[in-house]
């Protein structure tokens, strides 16, 4: 399992740790039974999407025995309850990581103390061994993060059995007496739903006469929406008139209003041929996205 640590992406481990933290808060089993009788079994995944890598399956239960040390725990994923029906297509436990306080007393990774035997991974079964063992307490949950989720939308059955002896060698099985189980519960893989909506672009651009001063400069001439008449020029004053521009849009990435003239050469913009200039205004919504 130490080797598996490097196989398991940090993101997967963080998700596992986080999900277990959530369970610490949400799932508080306080009942301690003198006689084991499992009364609740829950298997769930935080991300139910099919075929994702390193899904986290969480197991929680109540009523399990709390007197004898668990030295081996068998986890099996199958198409039907109790390990029947074969392994779900696409699901892989060829690499797997165990975390959670059920077998360790802390809500942290217990990979190092419960190495996995994945000999029977092809059938969806993995066992976790610890020769010293651990007597389960009130923390009723653990999680496994494994290589790949089932590839189809389906019910995936998770079956857990605990034993009082470790498995022998790479048998893929536990040994000794069953302490709890086999207990089985299911989660369901499911694609996410995409909710979509479109906000259509809006755009309007207006040019009008301007009233009052413009940028601190008072007007002494007149302007319309398409004309600015500076009147008769003389050498003793500056003729001034202005227009108002209004742009309205829901362009998410901003806008520009450009101004240019139709003259071809600098210094010839305000020509005397007709005594007028023809500036052009262009409002653009750059990189508008739909």
């Amino acid at each position: 399992m130490n080797g598996l640590k490097s196989e398991m992406p940090m993101r997967g481990f963080m998700r596992l740790a986080f999900s277990l933290f959530v369970i610490v808060v949400l799932f508080d089993v306080k009942a301690v039974r003198a006689e084991a009788a499992v009364t609740l079994r829950v298997a769930e995944v935080l991300d139910p999407r099919p075929a994702i890598a390193w899904p986290v399956a969480q197991w929680s239960w109540a009523g399990y025995q709390q007197t004898t040390a668990v030295k081996c725990m068998r986890v099996q994923f199958s198409n039907q309850p109790h390990g029947d029906g074969g392994k779900p297509a696409g699901l892989s436990v060829a690499a797997i990581s165990l975390a959670g306080p059920y077998l360790g007393g802390a809500a942290v990774n217990v990979d190092s103390t419960w190495p996995s035997d994945r000999t029977l991974a092809a059938s969806g079964q993995v066992v976790f061994n610890n020769a010293t063992g651990y007597v389960p307490g009130g923390s009723a949950y653990f999680g496994v993060s494994y290589l790949a989720q089932a590839s189809a939308e389906q019910a995936v059955w998770m079956t857990v059995t605990t034993y009082d002896q470790v498995g022998t060698g790479s048998s893929g099985n536990c040994a000794g007496n069953v302490l709890d189980g086999p207990e089985t519960a299911a989660f369901h893989t499911l694609q996410t739903t995409q909710v979509a909506g479109v906000v259509d672009p809006t755009f309007s651009f207006e040019v009008d006469s301007h009233s009052g001063s413009c940028n601190g400069v008072g007007q002494n001439a007149t302007a319309g929406s398409t004309s600015v008449s500076l009147g008769s020029l003389d050498s003793s004053s500056v003729r001034r008139a202005a227009q108002s521009l209004t742009v309205s849009s829901n362009a998410g990435n901003g806008f520009n209003v450009y101004l240019s003239s139709t003259a071809a050469a600098p210094g010839q913009v305000f020509g005397d041929g007709r005594g007028t200039s023809s500036p052009t205004l262009r409002a653009l919504q750059p990189r508008q996205r739909r």
Partner: protein, 376 residues
């Protein structure tokens, strides 16, 4: 004459009938007669000789090894001329009264039954060693004829796991025992040996396999009082082109079928990690979350950009026409829920959105995660 009668045990823990003599036990009984005869004639039953029990049996209310139970001794044909002021009840492994059944504890308390006239007390002084207890009533009167019974509690049946035959010798005496002697006084009137068998309980087991199906489908018609303007499929909800004058809405149906005995939940959340960024376009623009929550849903006002959901189904009913914000990836809202005993349920979940005049143009989307969690 000493009269010892035994019979064959027909069924576990129950009656012994007079009709079929058990040969082997009968031999033992006859041997006991011989021994007692050699020891002396004091065991002859004197004046009661004219009466002879015609049937007798002992039954236990629970034959399981180690069980607390009530024993009922029934007989008929007993003598009716002399009062039985002491009744000795002796448990044994053998018909001749030898052997003490392992684990047997006769219990305490007064006996009852129709054979007893007046109040009898129980003396268990010798019960733990010889298996005999006696019931005393110094003022008892002669009993009338007919089938009569005596009942008494037993704290613990013999504990032999495989079960065993237990013999019960009942002897009536004409004189109550003295103090806590554990024995009767006077002369024996009549005696019979009955028996019963302890039998391990049978455990009948069977497994009902778990079941689970979870489906998402398009919804038709209104959902929680809101008409649909968009369309949906099992994996998409298309709200269409949003506006500032209406709230676009479309819904899906959720269905969970299971035999989970402890109930179920269907949780819903988005894949977004940050609130108010659930409904986003690819350029990083967002339509804010609806102001309502699952606990306190509220209407969406057209023209005030918002994205939310409503739900109506098994165990869940938001106020009709209202919305809640869609949880981020670290949250969960239960959009269907079944209490213990409710493993299946259906409902609709609908999504609504509206834009404002300043909502950036774009194609907005949210990824919704449904999780069915049955509690087996």
């Amino acid at each position: 004459m000493l009269k010892v009668a035994v019979k064959e045990r027909l069924i576990a823990a129950d009656a012994i009938y007079m009709t079929t003599a058990h040969k082997k036990i009968g031999l033992k009984a006859r041997a006991l007669v011989s021994v007692l005869a050699v020891l002396g004639g004091t065991m002859a039953f004197g004046s009661a000789a004219s009466a002879a029990p015609t049937s007798w049996s002992v039954a236990t209310s629970d034959p399981a090894p180690g069980a607390a139970t009530t024993h009922t001794f029934t007989w008929n044909g007993f003598q009716t001329t002399t009062a039985a002021r002491c009744i000795a009840v002796k448990y044994s492994n053998n018909a001749d009264g030898t052997g003490y059944p392992t684990g047997l504890s006769v219990g305490t308390g007064a006996p009852g039954g129709t054979y007893l006239s007046g109040s009898y007390t129980r003396d268990i002084t010798n019960a733990g060693t010889t298996g005999q207890m006696v019931f005393n009533n110094a003022s008892a009167t002669p009993q009338t004829a007919g089938a009569k019974d005596i009942t008494w509690s037993v704290a613990t049946e013999p504990t032999t796991a495989a079960g065993q035959t237990v013999y019960v010798t009942v002897t009536a005496y004409d004189t109550a025992g003295t103090g806590s002697s554990g024995n009767c006084g006077g002369a024996a009137l009549e005696s019979v040996v009955a028996g019963y068998a302890t039998t391990p309980r049978t455990t009948v087991t069977a497994v009902v396999d778990g079941t689970l199906t979870f489906t998402v489908a398009p919804h038709s018609g209104t959902c929680n009082g809101i008409g649909q303007t968009g369309t949906s499929s099992p994996t998409t909800v298309d709200l269409g082109h949003l506006s500032t004058t209406a709230t676009n809405f479309a819904a899906q149906d959720l269905s969970v079928t299971s035999n989970a005995g402890n109930g179920f939940n269907v949780y819903m959340k988005s894949t977004a990690t940050t609130a108010n960024q659930v409904f986003a376009d690819s350029a990083g623009h967002y339509i804010a979350d609806a102001t309502g929550t699952f606990a306190s849903p509220a209407a969406i006002t057209p023209g005030t950009a918002a994205f939310g959901y409503t739900a109506l189904g098994t165990g869940v009913a938001l106020t009709p026409g209202t919305y809640a914000k869609v949880p981020t990836s670290s949250g969960n809202d239960s959009v269907l829920t079944g209490a213990a005993g409710v493993g299946s349920g259906t409902g609709c979940v609908g999504f609504g959105a509206t834009s404002s005049a300043t909502t950036p143009a774009g194609a907005y989307s949210a990824q919704i995660v449904y999780r069915a969690v049955p509690l087996y």
